[in-house]
C-alpha cells in the first residue's frame, strides 16, 4: 500500500479524475446488484404465478435501464482511471528524460544504456499498472465485494450469507500463495531466458570465430541445451500456474455447494423463496472476481513499488556539475591556461592526469599525442567541464572554467569526440546540430571545410540523406568529417579534435588541416591524435604518457629530442609509405 502514498502527489494532482472514476466504479457495483435481484423477483412471481403484465414490464425495463447505466458509468471510470494512468506514465517518462539530459558523465558510466532503457520501459509499465489496475482492483474489490456481501446479508438471508462466505477468504489466501510460488519459478524461467539471450548475443557477435573453427554443430547443440533449459524452467511455472483457475473453481464451488445444501433446506422450509435462492447463486459468482483481485493486487503493488523506488533512485542522482549562481555569462575568449596537478576519476584512485599544464595563446594550435589511455580524452573532459573535482585550474581568458555559465562555456567550444556519434537525422540536420536555424549556405561551408561536401553530393538525397540507425551507413572517415563540420559550423572560440582524423586518409587530413589553419587563424585549436602528421604544425606539442607530459615542444624540437615522439614519427612515416605506396 506504500506505493499509493508514494504516488500521492499524482493522485492529488489528478484527484478530479480519480474521484469521479472511483465514484462511477462504486455506483456500477451497486447497480450490478440489481439484475440478480430482478431475476429472482421475476422467478418468484412466475413460480407463485402472481406475475402481471405491469410488474413484468416494470422489472424488465428496470433491468434494461441498469444495462445502459452500467455502460455509461463504465465508460466514465475506464477513461478516468486508465486514461489518467497513461498520463502518469507520460509524466514520469518526461521527468526521466529531462533528468538524463541534466546528468553528468559519471551517471552514464554508472548506469548503462540498457539499464536506463529498462527503467524507462519496464518500470514505467509497472507504475502505470499501479495507477490503472491497482486503483481499479482496490476500488472494485472494495465496492463490489462489500456491496455484494451486504446485499447477501440484507436481501437474502444472513445465515446463508455467513455460511457461503466461509470458503471465500481462501480465495485471497490461495491466490496469494500461488502468486508467490509462480513469481519464484517465473524468476528462474526469466533467468533461463536471459541466458538464452546472452548465448545468442555472443554467438551472433562471434559468428566469424565459430565459422573459422567449424564449430557450428557444437554451437547449435549448446543453444539447444539452453532452449531445453528454458522449457524445463517454464514447465515448473506451468505446473503451478495451471493450478490457478482450477483452485478458484473449487473454492467457489464449495460456496455453491454450501448454498445448495443450506439454501435448499431453507427453500424446503420456506425460509427463502426460489427467486432468492437464484439471486444468491448469482451473488456468489459476483464475489469471485473481487476476492481474486485482492490476491493479484499485492503483486501489482509490490512490483509497482519496487519500480517506483528504482526510478526515484535514478531521479535522486545529482549532477556534480552545477552552474555557479553568479556565473559569468560573457562567452569565453582569449588565452587558455591549464594547470592540473592531479585528476582522478570518481570511482577509482589511480590518477589519470598529473602535472599537466600549458598556456595556449588565442589563435594558436596545440597538439597532443600519446597512446590510448595516456590521458588525452580525460584532459578534454576537464576542459569541457564534465568533471569538477581535480586539483588545479583551467582558465579561459583568465577566468576559471567553473565560474562561467555552461552556455558561455560550451557554446563557444567545438568538440569533436573520438567516437563521432551521429543522430538519426539528415546530414544537414547533423551538421547544424548546434543551431537548427543555420542556413544551408553555412552548412555547405562547413562541409566544404571538412572535405565532405563532394561525398554528400554523391549520396541519394544529398544533404537531406538520413543517417544513423535507419539511414545510410557512412564510413568512419565520413562520420568523422561530418562530426568536425558539426563542431566547426558555429565558428567556435576553441576547437578540440580528439583523435578525430584517425579514419580519414593522409591527403584528406592534410586538406582539412590546411582549411582549418586558414579559417581559424584568429581562434584557438587543440588537436589530439595518434598520427603525428595531424599535430606536427602546431605551435606546441605535448606528448602524454600515463597522464604526464613526457615531452613538449615544437615538431623540430621534439625530433631533436630523440625520444618517444621521434620514434613514433619514424614508425608512422614508414607505415604511411607502405599504405600510400601502393596507391602510386
Amino acid at each position: 500500500m506504500g506505493i499509493f502514498k508514494k504516488l500521492g502527489w499524482f493522485f492529488k494532482q489528478e484527484k478530479k479524475a480519480y474521484i469521479s472514476g472511483v465514484i462511477a466504479l462504486f455506483i456500477v457495483s451497486i447497480i450490478a446488484l440489481l439484475p440478480p435481484r430482478i431475476i429472482g423477483i421475476i422467478v418468484d412471481q412466475i413460480a407463485s404465478q402472481t406475475i402481471t403484465m405491469q410488474s413484468l414490464i416494470m422489472w424488465v425495463s428496470l433491468l434494461g435501464a441498469t444495462a445502459v447505466a452500467q455502460y455509461l458509468l463504465r465508460y466514465i471510470w475506464r477513461i478516468n482511471i486508465f486514461g489518467t494512468a497513461s498520463k502518469l506514465e507520460r509524466i514520469i517518462r518526461t521527468q526521466l528524460y529531462q533528468h538524463f539530459t541534466e546528468m553528468d558523465k559519471h551517471f552514464f558510466q554508472r548506469y548503462r544504456t540498457g539499464d536506463l532503457m529498462a527503467h524507462a520501459t519496464n518500470d514505467l509499465r509497472a507504475i502505470r499498472m499501479v495507477a490503472a489496475g491497482g486503483i481499479l482492483t482496490l476500488a472494485d474489490s472494495v465496492s463490489t465485494g462489500s456491496a455484494t456481501i451486504i446485499a447477501m446479508f440484507l436481501v437474502v438471508d444472513w445465515r446463508l450469507a455467513l455460511l457461503a462466505l466461509i470458503p471465500l477468504p481462501l480465495l485471497a489466501l490461495c491466490s496469494r500463495i500461488l502468486g508467490t510460488k509462480i513469481h519464484k519459478s517465473f524468476r528462474e524461467a526469466q533467468a533461463a531466458f536471459s541466458h538464452l539471450n546472452d548465448k545468442t548475443q555472443e554467438s551472433v557477435s562471434g559468428m566469424k570465430v565459430i565459422k573459422t573453427f567449424g564449430q557450428e554443430t557444437e554451437d547449435i547443440q549448446e543453444f539447444k541445451e539452453k532452449t531445453a533449459q528454458v522449457v524445463k524452467e517454464n514447465k515448473k511455472v506451468y505446473i503451478v500456474d495451471s493450478l490457478f483457475d482450477p483452485v478458484i473453481t473449487i473454492i467457489t464451488g464449495m460456496s455453491y455447494v454450501l448454498t445448495m445444501i443450506l439454501g435448499g433446506s431453507f427453500v424446503i422450509n420456506e425460509v427463502i423463496s426460489i427467486g432468492e435462492f437464484v439471486t444468491f447463486f448469482t451473488y456468489i459468482s459476483m464475489l469471485t472476481w473481487p476476492m481474486l483481485a485482492v490476491g493479484r493486487l499485492f503483486n501489482i503493488l509490490e512490483r509497482g513499488s519496487a519500480s517506483y523506488d528504482r526510478i526515484r533512485e535514478l531521479l535522486n542522482n545529482k549532477s556534480s556539475i552545477q552552474e555557479n549562481t553568479s556565473a559569468v555569462t560573457t562567452p569565453i575568449s582569449g588565452n587558455v591556461d591549464v594547470t592540473i596537478q592531479k585528476f582522478t576519476y570518481p570511482s577509482s584512485d589511480k590518477a589519470v592526469l598529473s602535472d599537466v599544464h600549458f598556456h595556449l595563446v588565442k589563435g594558436q594550435t596545440l597538439g597532443i599525442v600519446g597512446k590510448t589511455g595516456s590521458g588525452k580524452t580525460s584532459l578534454f573532459e576537464l576542459m569541457l567541464r564534465e568533471y569538477d573535482h581535480y586539483e588545479g585550474t583551467i582558465l579561459y581568458g583568465g577566468t576559471d572554467i567553473r565560474d562561467y555559465s555552461l552556455d558561455a562555456l560550451l557554446k563557444r567550444i567545438g568538440y569533436v569526440p573520438q567516437d563521432n556519434f551521429l543522430f538519426s537525422d539528415t546530414i544537414a540536420g547533423n551538421i547544424r546540430f548546434a543551431d537548427p536555424n543555420l542556413s544551408m549556405a553555412e552548412v555547405e561551408r562547413a562541409a566544404k571545410l571538412t572535405a565532405i561536401h563532394q561525398d554528400i553530393l554523391e549520396m541519394p538525397q544529398q544533404y537531406e540523406t538520413e543517417v544513423g540507425e535507419r539511414g545510410v551507413s557512412l564510413s568512419g572517415g565520413q562520420k568523422q568529417r561530418i562530426s568536425i563540420a558539426r563542431a566547426l559550423i558555429t565558428n567556435p572560440e576553441l576547437l578540440i579534435l580528439d583523435d578525430a582524423l584517425s579514419a580519414v586518409d593522409a591527403k584528406t587530413e592534410e586538406k582539412i588541416l590546411s582549411a582549418l589553419k586558414d579559417e581559424r587563424s584568429d581562434q584557438t585549436t587543440i588537436i589530439a591524435a595518434h598520427r603525428i602528421s595531424s599535430v606536427m604544425h602546431a605551435q606546441e606539442i605535448l606528448v602524454l604518457e600515463d597522464g604526464r607530459v613526457i615531452e613538449r615542444g615544437t615538431h623540430e624540437q621534439l625530433l631533436a629530442n630523440n625520444g618517444w615522439y621521434k620514434e613514433m614519427y619514424e614508425q608512422q612515416q614508414l607505415e604511411q609509405q607502405i599504405e600510400g605506396g601502393a596507391v602510386k
Binding site: 463504465r74 558523465k105 547449435i220
Partner: protein, 595 residues
Amino acid sequence: MKNTQSAWSREIPLREQLTTMKRIFSFAKPFLGQFAASIVFAGLLAVTNALLPRIVQTLIDGYFTQGTATVQVVLLFGSLYAGATLLKAVIWYFNLYHYNMASEKTVAVIRNAVYTKLHKLGMNYFDRTPAGSIVSKVTNDTETIKEFWTVFLTVIEGLLGLSISFIAMYTLNAEVTLWIMTFLPILIVVIWLYQKKSSFLYRSMREKLGILNAKLAESITGMSIIQQFRQEKRFQEDFEETNMSYFRSRYQMTKINTLLLSPIIDLLYTSALVFILSFFGFDALNGFVEVGVIYAFTSYVRNFFQPMTRMMDSLSIFQDGIVSSSRVLEVLDNEEYAPEQNEQSDAKITSAKIEFKDVSFSYDGKHKVLKNISFTAYPGQTVALVGHTGSGKSSIINLIMRFYEFYEGDILIDGVSIKDYPLSELRSNMGLVLQDSFLFYGTIKDNIRLKNKAITDAEIRKAAEFVQADKFIEALPHKYNAKVIERGASYSSGQKQLISFASTIVTDPKILILDEATANIDTETEVLIQEGLEKMRKGRTTLAIAHRLSTIRDADLILVLDHGEIVEQGTHDELLDQKGVYYGMYELQKSGLTE
C-alpha cells in the same frame, strides 16, 4: 528498434496473415497429440460448464417448484454439484497445462530452427544485419509467439463455450435459443467494428512507442554530444512531443476499448437477459413456466457472451504475434546461404599448397573488389598481402575462408578446388587469426579449447606456452580458469590476441591465415605477438595481411595489391630489383630509419 518501427508501420494483408499463421502452425506438428489432448479437455470443460447450471435447474424445477424436495435430495444434488466442480477443476488443469507445455515446446522448436538456420547463412548476412536485431528475432520474437498461441486457445475455448451453451439452451427451449441467436449478428458487427478501429490504433500506438524508445536510446547514447552542444532544451521538447503523441494514441486506444470491448459485451449480455425474462414472463402470463430453466438460461447466456470479451481482448496479442512471426519467418526464408561445399568428397588437405587462379570477386555484383587474382603459396611458404584499406586484402581472406562465395576463377588447395572439400576438412586444417580477437564468456581455458572437447588441458597449456601467453595467464588469480566476461573486457587487446593465437595453434592447422592487428598494442605484448606469429608460421602455409614491414621481409612471396589487382609480386629481393612501388617503399623505409 529499427525493426519494430518498420514492421508496425504497415498493415499486413489478410492473406499474408493466413500464410504466416499456417507456417507457424507447422512447427506444432510434433506436439499435435498434446495440443489435441488439451483441446479435448477444453471440450470436456465446456461440457461440465454446461452441466453445472443444469444440476441447479433440475433441483429447482424437479423438486423445489414441485414441493417434493427433501433434505436427502438437497444433499444429493449438493454432492453432485461438488463432484462436477471437482471434475471441472481437474479437466481445466490438464487443459491449461498441456496447452502451455505444447506451446512452450513448439516455441523451443521454432527457436532451434531459427538458430540452426542462422548457422547456414553466409557472413554477408551477419556483416550487414545489426547483431541486436538478429538476437531479438531468435529470442524476443519467439517469446511473443508463445503468447500468440494462447490466442488460439482463447478462440477455441470461446467457440466451444459458444456452441455448447447453444446446444444446452436449445435442448431446454429451442424457441428462445433461436431468438437469442439474433444477437449474433450484432456481436459480429461489434467485433468487426472493434477489429477495424483497434487494429489501426494499436499499430500506430506500437509504432509510436518504437519511435519513443528509439529516441530515448539514441539520446542516452549521444547525451554527451547533446550536452556539449547545449541542445538539451531542443531534445527535451522534441521528446516531449513524441511522448505526447504516444500518450494520445494510448488514450484513444483506451477509449476504443471502453466503447467497444467489455462494457459493450456486458450491455449485450444484459439485453439478452431482458429478452429472456420478457419472453418467459409473457409465457408465464399465459401458463406454466419452469423457473429453473430461467436460471439455467441466465447462466448459459453468460457462458455465451463471456468468452467474447476475452477473444476481442486477444486481438492485440494476435497482432503482436503476426508481426513477430513474420520477422521469424524472414530469417527462415533468407537465402543468403553460406557457400556450399561438396560434402560427398573425400578430398584431404595434405601438403597445403594454395593456388589462386584468376579469381575475381564482387560483394554487390557491381563493383569488383578483386580482379583476376592469381598466385601460389607452396607448402610451408608465407605469402604476404600488402596494400591500403580497400585494396582487397580482406576480401582474399573472406574467399579462402569460404565466408563469401565467388564465381569467377578458382582457389585450389593441393590441386583440388576449395569448393570440393567437405567443410569440416577445411575448417580443421585452416586457422584464422582475426584482427580483433573475440573472446567468449567463460574461462581462459574455454576460450583456447573453444567447443572442441577433445582438447586436453595439457594441450591447452602447451599451446599457451608456444605463443608465450602462459606468462600472463599464470599471473592471473585463477590462471587457466580465470573468468572471461563480456568479450574479454578485462584483458588488454594484446592479451586477447595471444589467447586467440593459442586457440588457433591448439588445433594445429596446416594453413594459417593472419589478419594482422592494426590496433595499438602495448610494446611488451607487441614483442610477444611478433614472436608468436613467427613461431606459428613455421611449417605452415601462411597467408598474411601485413601492416608492419617486419612480417613482410622474410615472406616467400609478397603481393602488392591496389584496387583489387596485384600490381607487383615477388620476394623481398625480387621486388627490390624491380625498382617499383615496393622498392620505393623500401627506400623510404631505409631513409625513415636513418633520418
